[in-house]
């Protein structure tokens, strides 16, 4: 930025913040777009419903038929997309902020790898313990347990008189590498039909969500978001480094520990609702940063971009594509190029 004009500060009672019109505008636009795509996702299907009816039904003023289709059939899927997108976006923004590394994401904190390894194990190994687990708690729950277990393992392995960003990421990469190697090895030794099933699960999908799963994810995300929202006021000074943050009165060790734990749990919630959808957590914060023109990953905007990306991709996957693909594939296929486009555009602009 060439202009050195300071953004004006605003104080309301005890709370104060910096007034950034562009950031607020983009965030509102993103929220509007996310809501629109959310409604579109409900409207489109074998039994098309008009957008106005969808919105009316959402606010409790719809007809009986529409209400059944929307609330019982389509809502869980759309809501799962929304929740998973927000959870992954926020989780990625936290991870990248704390690690101060644009390549960091909860994917490297072990959650995705752990869930994937457990799922691959349950799908490819038939009989014995695997069958018992699959029949008693089900594949998604077991995978979630594996993911969370791995995530927490990484977290505690990296704990040494507090949490250090780079140490956490490097240990996360190591543990993820082990988990991925186990997955690869399981796939190599398995029957090819099982491999196809495992592969389909490994990319994440929003198919056949039930209200039960969605409620858990929704409440989990809301609770974690409340924690993150409360602590995040201390996040901004931490971008200056530990010493300055301490000087500004931030208990950085505690803040970092709480935020990273929240990031791990948010990613776990996402896995529970959609399986290990890759890349959203990596791409969403970077896209959000460039859209709101802010030097660090903005939490709210990242969550909204994540939701937009996931619901939008699910919509594209259901309607526009000739073959059915899991949402994870479409998300990556859209999110990756969009990030590249933003980068290239920024470079070209700088050149002028």
């Amino acid at each position: 930025m060439s202009e050195t004009k300071m953004a004006p500060g605003v104080r309301l009672g005890r709370a104060s913040f910096v007034w950034r019109p562009w950031m607020v505008l983009v965030t509102l636009l993103l929220a509007g777009a996310a809501f629109l795509v959310f409604c579109l996702s409900i409207a489109v299907g074998d039994f098309p419903i008009g957008l106005p009816q969808v919105i009316a039904t959402l606010f409790g003023r719809g007809e009986r038929v529409d209400e059944f289709v929307i609330m019982d059939l389509r809502m869980p899927r759309a809501l799962a997309g929304l929740v998973v997108g927000v959870a992954l976006g926020v989780s990625g923004a936290i991870t990248q902020s704390i690690a101060r590394n644009a390549l960091a994401s909860p994917d490297v904190l072990g959650i995705t790898g752990g869930a994937g390894a457990v799922a691959a194990f349950l799908v490819t190994v038939s009989g014995g313990a695997a069958a018992v687990i699959t029949n008693s708690v089900g594949l998604p729950a077991a995978a979630l347990a594996g993911g969370l277990g791995t995530g927490l393992l990484v977290y505690f392995l990296a704990w040494r008189r507090g949490i250090d960003g780079l140490r956490l990421i490097l240990i996360g990469i190591s543990v993820s590498a082990v988990m991925e190697a186990i997955t690869v090895w399981l796939l190599v030794t398995a029957d090819i039909r099982d491999v196809a099933r495992a592969q389909a699960w490994l990319v994440g999908s929003l198919d056949s969500r039930s209200w039960g799963e969605v409620w858990i994810a929704l409440w989990g995300t809301l609770a974690l978001m409340a924690v993150v929202g409360y602590v995040s006021f201390q996040l901004r000074p931490m971008h200056f480094g530990d010493d300055i943050a301490a000087g500004l009165g931030v208990r950085y060790s505690m803040v970092r520990a709480v935020l990273l734990l929240s990031a791990v749990l948010l990613a776990g919630v996402a896995v529970s609702a959609a399986g290990p959808v890759p890349f959203v957590a990596l791409v969403a914060p970077q896209v959000a940063m460039r859209l709101v023109r802010y030097p660090t990953p903005p939490l709210v905007a990242s969550g909204l971009v994540g939701a937009l990306l996931l619901i939008g991709s699910d919509l594209v996957a259901r309607t526009a594509l000739p073959i059915t693909l899991p949402v994870g594939v479409v998300t990556a296929a859209i999110g990756g190029p969009f990030l590249v486009y933003l980068l290239v555009r920024a470079n070209l602009k700088r050149g002028m």
Partner: protein
């Protein structure tokens, strides 16, 4: 810092320098030892005499000798050579990518090399139904090279000219896209999925010299380019402005760096599949051993890469007899915990 004028010690005279030379010597010795072991260990264990006979003996003298010659010359020697060559290539490209992106978690796959190769493999199988891995080695290399060129080209558009962060993120974006395409093809075509799962494991076994020699040529070119670049990387790590002030042609050196990385990682990946984590791991270990000077760090990373890959290949042959564990899997299973312990003990402070 005092103001006393210190005499610059003669090259090769300091203790640190002697230690680095000794360390490099020890690594080379370890590599030779591992290579000898690699010739002897396997489904059929050979004694040193037998290995010698297998290497230089006349075939046809008697049944047993012919068998040994066959095993050593067509199975053990190629995979040993490939493990060394690919290990060097992956180690050095891992160190280079961290040097050029100034990012301690950059891995050899960052520039889209692995994703491009994987995508090329599944596409070729889908389109032409290629059956054996040897048929798609070249497509894999082509895919890796094209992906590398696309990433660097996109990152260099405009005046922002391939800043480290832009390069890394563009690489991520392209990788994400290619990985999605690969998964899409693999999910819709069983034959592709079947080939992909073996290819992804990463193995140095079963590749003949007709593949190894061309790969070695590409790696040698990349290696030469990398070695010329070494002093420049030190300067680039001081920041673009300082480097430019010291006379570094930033654009030129970045371009040759990316070309070197793509040649090294691309050829290695094409020959043995995406062996993840190796480049990242050995770079950190090398940095711990040598300090941040890339003139030492890069060669160390290369030697360490070869040593680790070779040892992991040997371990993979022994642990699940009579079957084998792919070297790529062993690298992650055995290397990662070791690496995690080093990280936890705080060995990589200045990473």
């Amino acid at each position: 810092m005092g103001t006393t004028v210190e005499k610059r010690p003669a090259p090769g005279a300091t203790a640190a320098h002697r230690r680095r030379v000794a360390g490099a010597g020890a690594l080379v010795a370890g590599l030779v030892l591992a290579a000898a072991l690699s010739l002897a260990v396997g489904a059929r264990a050979l004694s040193p005499t037998e290995v010698w006979q297998g290497l230089f003996g006349e075939p046809g003298a008697d049944q047993r000798l012919t068998e040994i010659t066959l095993i050593v010359q067509t199975v053990r020697v190629p995979r040993t050579v490939l493990a060394v060559v690919a290990g060097i290539a992956l180690g050095i490209s891992g160190a280079l990518i961290q040097g050029f992106t100034r990012n301690p978690i950059a891995d050899t796959g960052l520039l889209g090399v692995n994703a491009g190769a994987s995508f090329a493999v599944v596409t070729m199988i889908l389109l032409f139904g290629l059956a054996s891995p040897f048929q798609y080695v070249w497509f894999a290399f082509l895919g890796a090279a094209v992906a590398g060129v696309i990433v660097f080209g996109l990152a260099s558009l405009g005046r922002g000219a391939g800043s480290p962060l832009t390069l890394a993120l563009t690489g991520q974006g392209v990788t994400v896209f290619l990985a999605a395409m690969t998964t899409a093809v693999a999910l819709s075509d069983k034959a592709s999925l079947n080939a992909l799962r073996f290819w992804k494991a990463g193995s140095v076994a079963g590749v003949g010299f007709d593949t190894i020699w061309p790969a070695t040529v590409f790696i040698a070119i990349g290696l030469a380019l990398a070695l010329i670049m070494l002093p420049t990387i030190n300067l680039l790590n001081l920041g673009d402005d300082v480097a430019r002030g010291l006379g570094v042609k930033i654009g030129l050196s970045r371009t040759s760096g990316v070309v070197a990385i793509t040649l090294l990682a691309g050829a290695a990946t094409a020959a043995c599949g995406p062996i993840a984590f190796l480049g990242l791991m050995v770079t950190h270990v090398a940095r711990y051993l040598t300090g941040p000077d890339y003139r030492w760090l890069v060669p160390y990373a290369g030697l360490l890469g070869a040593l680790v890959l070779l040892v992991c290949d040997i371990v993979g042959r022994v642990v699940t007899r009579p079957g084998e564990l792919q070297a790529g899997v062993v690298v992650a299973l055995a290397g990662a915990p070791f690496f995690a312990v080093l990280v936890w003990r705080g060995k990589f402070r200045n990473a």
